[in-house]
């Protein structure tokens, strides 16, 4: 039997104005187990807390009920008081007689009666409280960053600079991501390569960073502080440690007609290739789909020219097991397919391109060495039409476009238009826009410069149809401000394609039990207060995998994610929330209902030996809750048919006791 002390707070007149606190203390003193009951003006004050501490000692209290303001206000306070008095902090229950009683009722007898009932419910619950101790788990002091774009690179650098080990897993042969493909960056127009490649080198040379390029995460087990991850290293048929990146093999490879993915298929690369000059690691990779040696054993030229002896046609995919304390997702984005938007004739004309293709076309390292040439015939174009919001803000058809604003297009389109006009003043540039969205530092100024100083023709309206005919693109569009339909003969049309999360994100989310929204962007734990954390403990979000972002935002979020990781890795042990689910093995059926509803993947199963009544031993499948992962929602307790699953702090019998006390 508990020895319970009841402490009724006046909260000045906040409670005492509508509730007869002395009557409440008196009434509760007769409840079973209550050995002490009193009232005080401000229970949360130092004097009030001292009174509680003294009472615990004097009356040998084992449980405390405080009738006061909302537990959301002072539960933590009174739990600390209990701890100071030598009690387990979870032996405290609060009866909310202010927000949910004195403040919402006007009549003293009614308020008093209700306060007594709420107090009785709290007393009934405390009878069934048990001391709870948060679980502890060790922290592996290494972080995993999935994705080696600017988001992943920045996160990894920040974590590494703080002194922790970091691994980057990048599925492409080089890190760098989308930013490596860009030409200039808005709103300052500094060149992407100039600011990115030094970071790529920094991260590659950092003593705390390892890079797994051409690799993917294939399995994730474990939980915050203790993830077990399997990384699949694709065979690149080149020994990374031996390859010097000299490029002799690339030059000699006879199979030169493979569409170059780095230039979005606008030119070709050999079967053995280094994606771009500043690739990190600067190591060649053989594309097995196109290599004659790997396909039919005929060739072997690259091995012959490689003085380092790095070529290895027998290389196999390799699996690496590693332990991590935290995982950062930085899987980035891709432009959506333009296949469903053929009113723009993207599939019919080479001169209709996406903005990312345009980046390559204006990049000095791109397929035209930075010269603006019409892809179909290499001629100098005279009229360019940019179309914004292609597939963004599109609710008509889910298979086609995306409901959200892709956020970056207004600015990069202004950048493209401005750069064209800057280099080629003879080129007419039209930009069709629905709205121009430029909320960012120096963003609107940038866009206005494109209009006012560079003479880009911004037209409110959009393009309805592009008809390629006799070497020109006949563009039919609306000009809403002048209420006209325009017919423009253009040389090139550039589509600001909506962006979407990388395809690898969905299976990764399943592996991590991290939640996603309907667009496959990772969901943050709280949209305002925890924007870089996934609801799954120990999983953090960096960059466009969480939503469309430009580079400055991505970098700041990358830093924020890193600081969260650093905060986690700095701990030697993790203290859990003790109000977590736990399963009574003797009653568990092993039916998986609980695991089906658990949003955190906190429940696993193991076969356990049980002694049967007939003295035989039987193996039974039983649920195990990982207290470090469980967040204590209690969903499993209702899914469990046998009642084996219960929730500490909110046990079935505790809640039923409250129900009974209220309904008495």
């Amino acid at each position: 039997m508990q020895r319970i002390g009841v402490f009724v707070c006046w909260c000045g007149s906040n409670i005492a104005g509508t509730v007869d606190v002395k009557a409440v203390a008196e009434a509760l003193s007769h409840e079973p187990g209550v050995v002490f009951s009193t009232d005080y003006q401000y229970m949360c004050s130092q004097a009030g807390q001292d009174m509680i501490k003294a009472s615990v000692a004097e009356h040998h209290l084992t449980g405390i009920v405080v009738c006061s303001c909302s537990p959301r206000m002072h539960e933590a306070t009174f739990r600390k008081t209990a701890t100071a008095a030598g009690l387990n902090p979870y032996m405290v229950e609060i009866a909310n007689i202010r927000e949910q009683c004195s403040w919402v009722h006007k009549d003293m007898p009614i308020g008093t009666e209700k306060a007594i009932i709420l107090g009785k419910a709290a007393v009934a619950k405390v009878h069934l409280n048990a001391p709870l101790t948060p679980g502890e788990s060790p922290v592996t002091k290494r972080a995993l960053v999935i994705g080696g774009g600017i988001a992943g690179i920045q996160t990894a650098l920040d974590i590494a600079d703080a002194g922790f080990k970091v691994d980057i897993v990048e599925k492409k042969p080089t890190i760098g991501g989308k930013m490596a493909q860009l030409d200039k960056t808005f709103p300052t127009l500094d060149c992407a390569a100039c600011i990115l490649t030094p970071k790529m080198v920094d991260v590659a040379q950092h003593e705390n960073v390892r890079i797994f390029s051409y690799s993917e995460v294939s399995e994730v087990k474990g939980f915050v502080g203790n993830f077990d991850v399997t990384i699949k290293k694709h065979a690149r048929f080149v020994k990374e440690d031996l390859c010097t990146g000299c490029g002799a093999c690339v030059d000699k490879c006879p199979m030169k007609k493979v569409p170059n993915e780095f230039n979005l298929g606008m030119d070709n690369r050999p079967a053995i290739y280094i994606p771009f000059a500043q690739a990190v690691p600067k190591v060649a990779t053989i594309d097995p789909a196109h290599c004659n040696m790997l396909k039919n054993g005929k060739c072997g030229l690259c091995a012959r020219v490689c003085t380092a002896g790095a070529i290895d046609y027998t290389q196999q995919d390799e699996y690496v097991q590693e332990k991590y304390g935290a995982i950062v997702v930085a899987t980035g984005f891709n432009p959506i397919s333009m296949d469903k938007f053929d009113e723009f004739a993207y599939n019919q004309s080479k001169d209709v391109i996406t903005s990312l293709e345009f980046e390559r076309l204006t990049n000095a390292a791109g397929p035209t060495a930075g010269k603006l040439l019409r892809p179909s015939d290499g001629a100098h174009p005279h009229t360019l039409v940019f179309v914004q919001c292609v597939g963004s803000r599109c609710t008509a058809c889910a298979e086609k476009g995306k409901e959200y604003c892709s956020k970056i297009c207004c600015m990069y389109t202004a950048k493209h238009a401005m750069l064209v006009r800057d280099k080629y003043p003879d080129v007419d540039v039209y930009v069709f826009y629905i709205d121009v969205r430029t909320p960012g530092k120096n963003f609107d100024e940038f866009y206005r410069r494109a209009v006012e100083e560079y003479g880009v023709k911004y037209i409110k309206g959009t393009v309805g149809k592009v008809v390629p005919e006799n070497g020109v693109l006949k563009v039919q569009a609306s000009d809403l401000l002048n209420n006209k339909q325009l017919h423009i003969d253009a040389d090139m049309v550039v589509l600001a394609a909506a962006i979407e999360p990388d395809r690898s994100a969905r299976p990764l989310a399943t592996m991590l039990t991290a939640s996603m929204d309907t667009n496959d962007f990772f969901t943050e734990a709280h949209p305002k207060l925890r924007p870089v954390e996934s609801p799954t403990a120990g999983v953090f979000l960096s960059g466009a995998c969480q939503g469309p972002k430009d580079i400055p935002e991505t970098v700041s979020q990358a830093g924020a994610a890193a600081s969260k990781v650093i905060g986690l890795l700095a701990k030697d042990k993790l203290m859990g929330n003790p109000c977590v689910a736990s399963s009574n093995e003797a009653m568990c059926n092993g039916c998986s209902s609980c695991a089906n509803v658990c949003p955190y993947g906190a429940i696993t199963y193991e076969d356990k030996e049980f002694r049967m009544p007939d003295r035989t031993v039987a193996l039974r499948r039983v649920a195990k809750v990982n207290p470090a992962v469980c967040q204590g929602c209690g969903c499993c307790t209702v899914a469990c048919p046998s009642g084996a699953m219960d929730l500490n702090g909110f046990k079935n019998d505790q809640i039923l006791a409250e129900v009974d006390a209220i309904c008495k």
């Binding site: 609710t395 008509a396 629905i434 959009t462 039919q476 609306s478 209420n483």
Partner: protein, 128 residues
Amino acid sequence: MNNAQLRDEVIRISGVNPSKCMGCGKCSATCPAYDEMEFHPHQFVSMIKNGDLAPLLKSDSLFRCLSCFACVERCPRGVEPAKLIEAVRLQVIREKGANHLKPESVPAMVDEDLPGQLLVTAFRKYAK
């Protein structure tokens, strides 16, 4: 019917919610009959949304829509302007004596090859 009632009626029978329009102008960009119209598709949507129907009811633009559904197909917001235009046109031709196409004027317009489909369609669109 006053303007507001008319607007509600048009919205009801077309099943289209003009408030979904974000004003991108795709309908007017794509419309093959644009130059024939006094009011253009995006204006239709906006005028109906605002209950500003009187000018529309009087306009020949109602009879210039080809019902080719390009605007419906390409609208990124699923607004379906052609259906709105048709609903307004029905408000007009359902009035007694308001048929746009009169049988007596047909012979002058047809030639030998003209398919029956054309006449049927025109009458269905223009007359009650």
